[in-house]
């Protein structure tokens, strides 16, 4: 896994007349978890979307670096894994088929046992691997979303409310996942959950 860092400076975002983010700066780097906290509507998800390159900031800049070399925006996605409440996997496909699909898109040649191991590790029982996601509970869907986010072991991992819809065991799974990726990747977690805030090596508090 390459060491990719993300630096963002003076990032602001406006939607029409409404200012959602005002001059937010920070850095994502391997070995550190950045927690983005704040009340609903403070712009946590917007900041993560900007860091992912899914939204363009109204002001400020986001720079991805692989070592010292800046990465072109068109290559950000290759280095990025993300799970968010407004991201879903395909309901018509099973968990295994979803992972096969995303692995193929990312050029990974992963055998089914590897994918099943990943799903097992996130707490999805083996009997559910081949059922279509449309029949899953919201907690099971969240586990598949997390699996697609870490499938390619990305050097940048963005998690927006990663424990949403998960039970206590699920929260533990996410805590383990963050602990593992802290050593491997630059991690950002957007959350309101006080337990998740304890993961922070650095923290950005956004206000309304």
């Amino acid at each position: 896994m390459s060491a990719v860092s993300v630096e963002f400076k003076g990032v602001s975002k406006r939607f029409g007349n409404r200012s959602v983010l005002a001059a937010v700066s920070g850095t994502l780097q391997r070995g550190r978890v950045l927690v983005v906290a704040g009340p609903n509507g403070a712009g946590k998800s917007t900041l993560l979307n900007i860091l992912a390159g899914l939204l363009r900031p109204s002001r400020g800049e986001v720079v991805y670096r692989n070592g010292d070399a800046p990465l072109a925006r068109t290559h950000w996605f290759e280095h990025l894994g993300m799970a968010a409440p407004d991201m879903a996997v395909y309901e018509e496909l099973s968990a295994l088929e979803n992972l096969r699909f995303f692995a193929r898109l990312r050029g990974l040649h992963l055998e089914d046992p590897t994918l099943q191991e990943l799903l097992d590790g996130l707490g999805l029982p083996p009997r559910e691997h081949t059922r279509t996601v449309g029949t899953y509970s919201s907690g099971m869907r969240q586990r598949v979303k997390l699996a697609q986010a870490i499938l390619h072991e990305p050097p940048v991992l963005l998690l927006d409310e990663p424990s949403s819809n998960l039970d206590e065991a699920g929260h533990g799974v996410v805590a383990d996942l963050v602990a593992r990726f802290r050593e491997l990747a630059a991690v950002a977690v957007a959350t309101n959950d006080p337990r998740e805030m304890t993961w922070a090596d650095a923290r950005i508090d956004l206000a309304l």
Binding site: F77, M87, A88, E92, F102, R104, R106, L108
Partner: protein
């Protein structure tokens, strides 16, 4: 760097579309039922005998494409709208190259159109007593028309996918783009019905291929912007 090729990514998107469609059958049912209903209504009201002989070549060619186009419209617009509605668009944006997404969706729409043509055209010829002399010419025209229509529809579907009232918008945006194509396809079909030689449909065929080719080339440049911004 990616280890996957654009082709393998495009085929992955196509495979996902086909699997999802075969399980949900939403687009297939929409296109098939719309096509069949329109065809039966036309056949019942007009049939093979209520058109004057001198009007048959013009009217039968036009009616065929009206049925095919409107049936196709009901299904082709869904390829991107369903991604936005199901919140899978963002997941796909992060995982696939824009061109692979476009190519996969374009191929899926092409297969949907081919299925529609294979279902409706023989039925139409039978119910309307439409004797086509140049079957090979018509087949070529249908194939080229499907490519052009699929390219246009896929691009328009991407543009309208994030808008509310997207189905209405699809019709509004695609009709002006598709109108010249339809005119050429109707002219070509009329020519194919009356002649066994490919030369008879060549002017229409050239127009359809040019328009389809231009749309595909423009889409290659425009789609990444539409998809990400």
């Amino acid at each position: 760097m990616r280890a996957s090729t654009l082709l393998s990514e495009s085929l992955a998107v196509l495979g996902k579309e086909l699997t999802a469609e075969l399980r949900s059958r939403v687009a297939l049912n929409a296109v098939g039922l719309f096509g069949l209903t329109t065809l039966i209504a036309v056949a019942y009201q007009i049939g093979p005998y209520r058109i004057q002989e001198q009007d048959r070549p013009h009217l039968l060619a036009a009616l065929l494409w009206v049925i095919l186009f409107f049936a196709a419209t009901s299904g082709l617009s869904r390829v991107f709208v369903k991604e936005e509605d199901a919140h899978t668009a963002k997941t796909l944006r992060l995982a696939a190259r824009p061109l692979a997404v476009f190519a996969g969706k374009f191929l899926f729409n092409l297969i949907l159109l081919a299925a529609l043509y294979a279902f409706i055209v023989p039925l139409y010829c039978a119910l309307m007593g439409y004797a086509v002399q140049g079957v090979a010419s018509l087949a070529l025209l249908l194939a080229c028309g499907a490519v052009a229509l699929s390219a246009t529809s896929t691009m328009v579907a991407a543009i309208i996918s994030r808008a509310s009232g997207s189905t209405t918008l699809f019709a509004i945006l695609s009709v002006p783009l598709v109108l010249p194509l339809l005119v050429m396809l109707i002219q070509g079909t009329r020519a194919a019905a009356g002649s066994t030689t490919i030369a008879a449909v060549l002017p229409a065929l050239q127009g359809v291929v040019s328009l389809g080719g231009a749309t595909l080339v423009i889409s290659v440049y425009l789609f990444p912007v539409v998809w990400h911004d």
